[in-house]
């Protein structure tokens, strides 16, 4: 399964045989994948299939028990999400990772604040932080926002914009998007998809974790199916259409069996 984009270039980020265990239960077992610049890899799977663990590994929150991570072909070990971010891997977290009682700019730069002056007088560069935040928020379509206001005063869509703007700002190589579990409006979905495409078009490698095969098929170049922490399928856009993808994600044969039995029951009435 090798397409033109696969050959030649070194992947921006690569996982080789990554295994993560919680206690003795493997959450991921021997997962390998490659992310290339300008490509969108969609990760699909049911709840508990290891999607969130995969995101945690990529963004440095979870250290794998086995296997290795390579950034631009060089093996790396992330000790904290800060190191992953310093490597240009930024994440839009499922819960958006926003502290509601802190201001918008504090949220934007949390964990990577710009400072000026020398220790012990090193202090936050508030002016620059506010300016960058306002600019980044304007790029994702939220204009006229006061960066000093509390994040809890933002509307749900604006909060999502904040999480995305932050990831786009810090992600120089790889953008990881774990689609929020909270119900989204079509506009909010569109924002997520647009951010995926904007990142792809500017050359970033994008990993998009989603529950929805329909949306995945709209933007994805490759599709990685996870089941019980294993790679259950690695497909390209040419391999599947949206209906095949839906069937595969929903458990394939099980769903068609369910559909058949429901249809029968319906006709009997």
């Amino acid at each position: 399964m090798s397409t033109a984009a696969d050959t030649g270039t070194t992947p921006a980020l690569e996982l080789r045989g990554v295994t993560v265990r919680y206690g003795s239960v493997p959450a991921l077992s021997r997962v390998s994948l490659a992310l290339r610049g300008g490509q969108v890899l969609c990760v699909l799977g049911e709840n508990g299939s290891g999607k969130s663990t995969l995101v945690a590994v990529l963004s440095g929150l979870q250290r794998p028990a086995e296997g290795e991570l390579l950034v631009d072909g060089r093996p790396v070990r992330f000790r904290s999400p800060q190191q992953a971010r310093a490597c240009g891997i930024a994440t839009v977290w499922q819960d958006l990772a926003i502290a509601p009682l802190m201001s918008v700019w504090r949220n934007f730069f949390l964990g990577a604040e710009p400072t000026r002056g020398t220790w012990p007088f090193r202090r936050l560069d508030v002016g620059r932080a506010e300016e960058v935040t306002a600019r980044a928020m304007a790029q994702v379509g939220v204009t006229g926002l006061d960066p000093g206001q509390a994040a809890s005063a933002l509307q749900a869509g604006e909060r999502q914009s904040l999480a995305i703007a932050r990831a786009l700002h810090f992600g120089a190589r790889v953008l990881v998007i774990d689609e929020p579990t909270a119900p989204m409006t079509v506009t909010q979905r569109a924002l997520v998809l647009q951010s995926v495409l904007a990142a792809r078009d500017s050359g970033l490698a994008v990993l998009f974790v989603t529950h929805s095969p329909q949306y995945a098929h709209l933007v994805g170049d490759r599709f990685l199916l996870l089941g019980d922490g294993r790679v259950a399928g690695d497909l390209t856009r040419e391999d599947v259409d949206v209906h095949d993808l839906t069937r595969l994600v929903a458990g394939g044969d099980e769903l068609s069996r369910l559909t058949d039995s429901l249809r029968e029951a319906h006709q009997r009435r």
């Binding site: 999400p81 009682l101 802190m102």
Partner: protein, 374 residues
């Protein structure tokens, strides 16, 4: 299923591969919905209410006015000196505890750390004949050790800090009473005034200044310094950002790589240092130490910080507010004394004040939390 974007435009083949990308070059996208500005009056109200210390300042003005009218002696320079004398040690503890509360943790052991460390200092001087300065350094190290034990226990076990520091409180309380009576023969150690270096220690921790008929103590300066330092740390440094995030949104803080554990341990070191400072100020002032069991004093620091607008659940508060809370406490206590009321009313009054502060905090919190759903 209605796709929000045309599929044709999505599968465009234009894919430049330039790395790394400056975020400025990303095209603007997303729903261009300008934020609807609020009315100026509403905005001002929001801003005022968003200040954690606002309710404490308001309460201070009301209580100060009330007792100022009841007993005019309160506002003379003598009355003011007494109020500030009561407020200073309490305020030093309250700003440290306030910062810890913002990070979502408790410390019940600060008062007993004050007693224990000053006992250590006193015994080192009276029994071993050490100079006051080396003895103070040793007791500071002991305080930091206690803080580190508290912090590391909380961080590594995930137990509620309320219980961990309650245990510390009991251990230190019991052992300092036992050690004092075993070594010194009573719960009281005195006679430090002649030790080497006492004069310089007196200048740093015990100096006073006469203004009118009021004698102002240097503890006031330490209190102001502590408030200024913690305020700067909290609002203007990366450490302060970590404090807010650790308390208000632990999961988000971990996801973004904020050093939650390190921040928590550092804050416990801070409260222990504040305890040592309170103890030292008392020690130098009295020329000795009296080990005096009182659990009530432990709660007072937290009560004062909460009156100052710190949320018990963390993520919100200010040390200026905590300092104002300490001042409010002192004004009410001295006001009741000077007005000639039964001083036992003070506790009831403090409870009432706490209740009002909690309700006010809840109001602020709900205002901050309420976000219109799209």
């Amino acid at each position: 299923m209605t796709a929000p974007i045309e599929e044709a435009s999505l599968s465009s083949s234009r894919r430049p591969t330039v790395l790394p990308v400056a975020p400025e070059r990303l095209p603007a996208f997303g729903p261009a919905v300008p934020v609807v500005p609020r009315s100026p009056g509403r905005r001002l109200l929001d801003r005022v209410l968003a200040r954690p210390g606002a309710s404490a300042l308001f309460g201070l003005l009301v209580v100060g006015l009330f007792f100022g009218l009841q007993s005019p002696g309160l506002l003379s320079s003598g009355g003011l000196a007494t109020v500030l004398d009561v407020a200073a040690p309490l305020g030093i503890g309250a700003v440290a505890v306030g910062m810890l509360l913002v990070a979502g943790q408790f410390d019940l052991s600060i008062g007993v750390v004050a007693v224990t460390t000053s006992l250590v200092t006193a015994l080192l001087v009276s029994e071993l004949g050490l100079g006051i300065w080396p003895a103070l350094l040793v007791s500071l190290a002991a305080a930091l050790l206690i803080g580190a034990v508290n912090g590391l226990l909380v961080v590594s076990t995930g137990l509620p800090s309320f219980l961990v520091t309650l245990a510390t409180f009991l251990v230190l309380q019991g052992s300092s009473l036992a050690v004092a009576s075993a070594v010194a023969g009573s719960s009281r150690v005195t006679g430090l005034a002649g030790s080497s270096g006492w004069d310089s220690a007196l200048a740093v921790f015990g100096a006073t200044a006469q203004l009118g008929d009021g004698r102002f103590r240097i503890s006031l300066v330490w209190w102001l310094l502590a408030t200024a330092l913690t305020t700067w740390l909290l609002w203007r440094t990366r450490f302060g950002n970590s404090v807010f995030a650790s308390g208000g949104a632990g999961q988000a803080a971990r996801e973004l790589g904020v050093p939650v554990a390190r921040t928590t341990v550092l804050l416990f070191l801070g409260t222990a240092t504040a305890g040592w400072l309170i103890g030292t100020l008392g020690l130098v002032r009295l020329g000795g130490v009296q080990v005096d069991p009182a659990l009530g004093a432990e709660i007072e620091f937290i009560v004062v910080a909460v009156i100052g607008g710190c949320l018990l659940t963390g993520g919100y508060g200010s040390t200026v507010g905590a300092a104002l809370g300490a001042l409010l406490y002192a004004v009410a206590r001295e006001g009741i004394l000077l007005a000639g009321w039964d001083p036992r009313w003070f506790q009831a009054f403090l409870g009432l004040l706490l209740l009002v502060a909690l309700l006010a905090n809840g109001l602020v919190r709900s205002r901050l939390r309420t976000a219109p759903r799209s």
